[in-house]
Amino acid sequence: MNPHALLATLAALALLPAQAADMNKVLRVALNAPETGFDPAKVSDLYSSTVTENIFDPLVTYDYLARPAKLIPNTVSALPAISADGKVYTFRLKPGIYFAADPAFKGKKRELTAADYAYSIKRHLDPAIHSPWSFLVDGRFVGGNELVKAAGKGALNYDAPLDGIRVLDKYTLQLTLTETNFNFLPILAMPAFGAVAREVIEANRDNTNAHPVGTGPYLLKEWKPGSRIVLEANPGFRKLVFNATPGNDPVDKAVVQALQGKTLPQVGRIEISVIEEEQPLWLSFLNRQLDISGIPQVALQNALVIDPKNPLKVRLAEQYARQGIQLQRQLLPEITFHFFNMQDPVVGGDSKDRIALRRAIAMSFPVSEAIAGIRRGQAVPMNYIVPAGVAGHNPAFRGAPKYDPAAANALLDRFGYRIGSDGYRTRPDGKPLSIELACGTSSTDKQWNEYWQKTFDTLKIRLGFRQGKWNELSKANHQGKLQMWGMAWGADYPDGENFMQLLYGKNAGDSNAADFKNADYDRLFEASLKLPHGPARNKLYDAMNKIAVAQQPWIFGDIRMRSTLAHRHVKGLKLHPLLGTSWRYLDLQK
């Protein structure tokens, strides 16, 4: 053959997208709660991000196997160059990455450029979009605040030059932060910062949630809101070959054996159902209508053989192990806690008698009993504001007070919370004492409420429940109307700052739900922002935790151990603390 023709043919073959995904391989999974939509700048719930994670590409991502989580380049050719003062991040994109086909591209192949990332990040600043993630970028980029102010109530001017987010050339993006921050990069790994194409957004302005078009391994094929989502492999996805060397971890070894040398993704089609009730979800998995599933709390004792002396040590029940079902477990990087409204006239404030009241309640709440009863032992008590798996965690710190309702009762006696003739305590000034706990309406909430009832009955304090949906209660809390409520916070990125900011005075009325304002804590927090993760910052974190434990704005809850089951034919599964799904790394070998 003509050498030129040969060369041309080879070149053409090399340019062909590697479509290795097998459309006959269909992965069936379920979401526990309905999704909202798929515009990365508009959705923040866990369920929507399982999908946006697979459609859009952020600049960087996490290595699939490495633990603790390690950032690796995704669409960039290498991790960014960071200036010495920690303020300037420079990213170089890999050329040859294309968006999935869409009518907005008018039949042309659309390449991913630095301008797309600039646009995607700016969308989070746009007042007209109200991104739920704006708190991560507000005031972070040089000139950002001015641009937002110039927009007023209208849309952001995307074409105006912005010093903090600059496109140096087609593939180079430069971000300049207003303050030193060595922990900024993990934020860019979030699916919320995946690249979107401006033409697609503008063509679907009214309904961006239904038209996600990205450079990721999957595209949205079908969507029945609240019911069913179907993803199919993106034929234009860049060639990605799995390459890793396993360590000693048997899970890693299995993954490498299943995937080494293969192009990703292998699974051609993903069918996601929304199943909110636990019984049908569990039964569907057992009936092989789902390939992967969690274990609902009621089925934990049925599915796992739990060692009573060490409840976290489990193995899969015989009947399921025989079918080749795989079990993987992971402590979630989250915290759950109940908080007091620190501005409340009855339970808030920093005088000793109030601290004593809160401390007494914390000492009487049977966390371990609740873990045994509700979680079937599959959780650990929370002891530190930053959970395990997140930079800044201190595994030796014991933050929860010792469970001792008798001493708690005596403590209340000491501070004048006398028991009245009706058997209930009064406030030190003699006025009647009753506390209201806000809660949800699900059956799990009801189970927790029974433990709270027991807590307050032991302390002889009158307890009322205020039930409501999450959004109603959130509104009431913002208006300062709640006395006590429970919350959970999952890591948005693996850095302790994401957790310590929950008690920062300036976040009161926002993510600081307890409205906790302590000058010492705030001072330590601001100092910690300037430090990278390390012993110096850990010392500050310890000091902050001590303040939180002493003042007791929170009653520490528990941290769940997530169990995931997969059928025998699902290969390549490894639970990742920060990646919501591992779908692109899976293979189905029926």
Partner: protein, 312 residues
């Protein structure tokens, strides 16, 4: 007849207005604030204010109500607050599964119930009659929840005869695989009360003079039942059927939730949970309209079946 129809249609207007007023008061006073859900983790005052403005919640109430009126007149309820999908697309995709489910339950259930009821009415007073009535009464006393939970557990999971849950795009697939179990459970739940009701209709009819006359004339019981009684008893039967048609659109909420059928009933629960006012508005208005129309249709059919009936 035409004048009557026109008058009735005209009378629907105040009712529709009343429904709109009720909805509006309920959800503007009662319903949760959706801006909190949409704001996610970012709960700053500006973000919330912005969302409220976008949803039109910062306008004065009378103005919001006028917008509502316009929406009803054009039957365009805008976009869902939680998913930002146009409400009409959402509902059109949900109606199919609901109608299939509740329609088939109604059909099968009615045929079975009428058949059994006619039989026991024919045998009234006998042991069979008393036994069937007793069984029906007992069956009625068990909560629908128990039937669904137990049915799904034993028939689908333990027995393996049906899929646990699910729904597909192909109607054939649905008819063969996903519909049978929810259909069976839906029929069982409704069968007992229907049998009792139809039986009482038939028994009442059998007590009428013309039946005695027919017997005196020498007609056999089966002929009396089939030719005379059934036709006359049809009126309450038809009424009951027609009255339940609008509720077909609601879907069987419990069944849809447990079996993962993407229908209207499930949509309503989700919408109330998320304070998704546009979706709730739309569904309620549609069903209110359907109810009024079917009422009218029932009265017209009355007149056609029984010329003695006076419409006023």
């Amino acid at each position: 007849m035409l004048a009557y129809i026109v008058r009735r249609v005209w009378q629907m207007v105040p009712t529709l207005f009343g429904v709109m007023l009720l909805l509006f008061v309920l959800f503007n006073w009662v319903g949760g604030d959706p801006s909190y859900i949409l704001a996610g983790k970012n709960l700053s005052a500006e973000a919330l204010a912005g969302i409220r403005q976008q949803l039109g919640l910062d306008l004065p109430l009378p103005q919001q109500f006028l917008i509502f009126v316009k929406q009803v007149l054009t039957l365009d309820f805008g976009t869902s607050w939680s998913t930002q999908q146009p409400v009409s697309t959402l509902l059109h995709s949900r109606i199919g599964p609901s109608l299939l489910l509740t329609g088939s339950i109604l059909l099968l259930g009615t045929v079975l119930a009428i058949g059994i009821a006619a039989l026991v009415a024919y045998l009234r007073g006998s042991l069979t009659d008393r036994l069937v009535t007793l069984i029906a009464t007992c069956a009625m006393s068990v909560s629908a929840l128990v039937y669904i939970i137990a049915g799904q557990y034993w028939l689908a999971f333990k027995g393996g005869w049906f899929p646990i849950m699910g729904w597909s795009d192909s109607t054939l697939d649905n008819l063969l695989h996903y519909l049978p179990l929810p259909l069976l459970l839906g029929v069982i739940v409704g069968l007992a009360p229907d049998i009792r009701f139809y039986r009482s209709c038939f028994v009442e009819e059998l007590g009428h003079d013309y039946v005695r006359t027919a017997r005196a004339k020498g007609l056999s019981e089966p002929v009396i039942m089939l030719k005379h009684v059934l036709r006359n008893a049809m009126i309450p039967v038809v009424t009951s059927l027609m009255m339940s048609l609008p509720y077909l659109m609601m879907g069987a909420m419990l069944l849809e939730t447990f079996f993962g059928i993407p229908g209207m009933g499930k949509e309503v629960v989700m919408a109330v949970e998320r304070s998704d006012f546009p979706v709730i508005k739309a569904i309620t208005i549609y069903i209110a309209l359907a109810t009024m129309l079917f009422n009218l249709l029932t009265d017209i059919i009355y007149k056609l079946i029984d010329p003695r009936v006076q419409l006023h």
